[in-house]
């Protein structure tokens, strides 16, 4: 028998989880919830390093239940806390079941550098300015014309990603669709795309092109080539 009934690990220092959500804040919120419920003696919330599932984050793992959650958003924490951590009922809709054991990283575009760290580095010539950060609605998306190319900039909740602006199916603007931070859905015929990789999901037959994007002093820059 271990020291805690429920031991929760939140990836805060892997390569992608902390760019896909404010996982440090996740830890604070979960700890506050456990404290509020008076369960600090039974439940431990730990910061964790990489689970080797990069691209599926933000990830949270709960032991001894051995339940893994992928793509967790801040709005999901309340349900994970009240249903699972405090009441033992896992949140099925968020469960991670990739069907492959062990490491399962997906290739993700390089995370946009944090503004403070990046400010010393001027963007290299291949980078073209897209917009100010605040021109993209929080957790929303907006289409921009960059050197004659239409680029959709998506705010996934904590990070910005960029992709082609038109659905590859019927050339409908993806900006009119909807995303949840992980999946982008075109509402015209519900083709879906993985925002981390651009890969097609479900009925979609082709993926979308993702562009590298970086942030520098409150401005977003895209690399249209390469």
């Amino acid at each position: 028998m271990g020291q805690y009934d429920c031991h929760v690990f939140v990836c805060t220092s892997g390569e992608t989880c902390p760019t896909q959500g404010d996982t440090e804040k996740f830890v604070k919120l979960l700890r506050a919830g456990v404290q509020k419920a008076g369960r600090q003696q039974q439940v431990r919330i730990n910061k964790a390093g990489c689970f080797s599932q990069c691209g599926h984050g933000p990830m949270i793992v709960v032991y001894p239940d051995d339940v893994w959650y992928a793509g967790v958003q801040e709005s999901d924490l309340e349900e994970i806390l009240t249903s699972h951590i405090l009441d033992g009922r896992p949140v099925e809709r968020l469960r991670y079941a990739p069907g492959v054991p062990g490491a399962n990283k997906v290739d993700v575009p390089p995370a946009p550098a944090a503004p403070a760290a990046a400010s010393a580095l001027a963007p290299r010539p291949e980078w073209t300015r897209v917009c100010r950060v605040d021109e993209v609605p929080a957790s929303g998306m907006k289409e921009f014309a960059v050197d004659g190319t239409s680029v959709l900039v998506v705010h996934t909740g904590a990070a910005f990603v960029a992709c082609q602006a038109m659905c590859p199916h019927e050339a409908v603007p993806l900006e009119q669709g909807v995303h949840d931070g992980c999946l982008l859905t075109c509402l015209e015929h519900t083709w879906q795309f993985d925002l981390a990789t651009g890969a097609p999901v479900g009925d979609a037959e082709t993926g979308i092109k993702m562009y590298r994007l970086r942030e520098d002093r409150g401005e977003l820059y895209v690399a249209l080539e390469g």
């Binding site: 349900e79 809709r93 949840d180």
Partner: protein, 346 residues
């Protein structure tokens, strides 16, 4: 005529009668061609003519906006003139559980009755019984009006000899104006039935969430009839959100109350009024319902927040309402598409 269709997952062939839409010929032969609305709007049935001659019957079909070349056509609006080979972009999909192979069947329009100032209900007494899954729809053709209209069945029963429908009056809306014109009782109608994938077919280990706007409640009534008949709400919850503009636009409320009364613990009915505050008289008449002012997708989003575990959702109504509900289900509820079934009435 022989029609050969190639999709990503195979090649199938079937016979096509003169004047018969290619989609209908395929479906009645058991070839599950891609389609969604079957009435020329959505573009899902787009195909490319590789060889042979085929002709579009409705050159103004809204779905033709998706066609990029002369060789492309909508199978729901096109007929073959000789042996044809087609390519489709979608895939052949297995038939929905409970759903029968669709076919053309005749019937007689009976019992046309007003439900509100702009909604009528009517039945079609069928020449031969049909099987369908709860939530499916039929294409209806009536004398003197060109083209088929899609209406969801309200009732559910195996080997149905009668199909019930509701229609909202739309100015210039051919069939709906014709129905409101009176003296249509006894008219013969043609049906192609059953169609659609927004089905509820037990057993299903899911809570049921239905979000319907206006006449979109039709398929929900069929789903509730099926679910109550199977005692689904003895184990699983049901959340029904029905949106109309004002209290005088509400209909089927007594029928919804009858379903609710069978499973008062688990089946919840919420009526959303978009254009007026909820009158006290309406609350008093249906004390078992919840009421709210607002658009039905917003009312549902507020009531369902944090309650989407193990939910399957059905959405039906006008396209803006359906899109708004899909946004909630994909973004807030984060339901997988496999757990979202919808019909857009455009």
């Amino acid at each position: 005529m022989k029609v050969l269709v190639t999709a990503k997952n195979g090649t199938r062939d079937f016979d096509c009668e003169p004047g018969e839409p290619i989609l209908h010929a395929g479906l009645r032969s058991g070839v599950e061609l891609p389609y969604e609305c079957a009435t020329g709007t959505c573009g899902t049935c787009k195909a490319r003519l590789v060889s042979g001659r085929a002709q579009s019957q409705w050159l103004d079909a809204p779905g033709r906006r998706y066609l990029k070349t002369e060789a492309e056509l909508l199978t729901c609006q096109s007929v073959a003139h000789d042996d044809c080979a087609l390519e489709v972009t979608g895939t052949f999909k297995p038939q929905e559980r409970d759903a029968a192979t669709p076919r053309a069947v005749g019937g007689v329009i009976r019992r046309v009755r007003s439900l509100t100032h702009d909604v009528v209900a009517f039945d079609v007494d069928l020449d031969t019984p049909v099987d369908f899954a709860a939530g499916q729809f039929a294409l209806l053709t009536v004398p003197g009006i060109v083209g088929a209209r899609a209406y969801s069945m309200v009732n559910f029963e195996p080997r149905a000899t009668r199909l019930s429908f509701v229609v909202k009056k739309k100015p210039g809306g051919g069939v709906s104006e014709w129905l409101f014109g009176g003296a249509v009782d006894g008219t013969r109608a043609g049906l192609f039935v059953p169609l659609g994938r927004a089905t509820f077919a037990p057993p299903l280990s899911r809570h049921v969430l239905c979000v319907a706007g206006g006449s979109g409640i039709a398929g929900v009534m069929s789903i509730l009839a099926r679910a109550c008949g199977e005692r689904h709400f003895a184990t699983w919850n049901g959340h029904v959100f029905f949106g109309v503009r004002t209290a005088r636009d509400g209909f089927f409320l007594d029928d919804l109350e009858a379903f609710r009364a069978q499973y008062p613990e688990r089946l919840a009915i919420t009526v959303a009024l978009s254009d007026e505050d909820v009158p006290a008289s309406l609350r008093a008449a249906y004390p078992g319902f919840a009421f709210a002012r607002g658009f039905v997708h917003a009312v549902a989003a507020e009531a369902m927040a944090g309650r989407y575990a193990d939910v399957r959702a059905w959405v039906a109504g006008p396209p803006p309402m359906v899109d708004a509900a899909l946004r909630v289900l994909l973004r807030e509820a984060r339901l997988p598409l496999a757990d979202i079934r919808y019909d857009k009435f455009s």
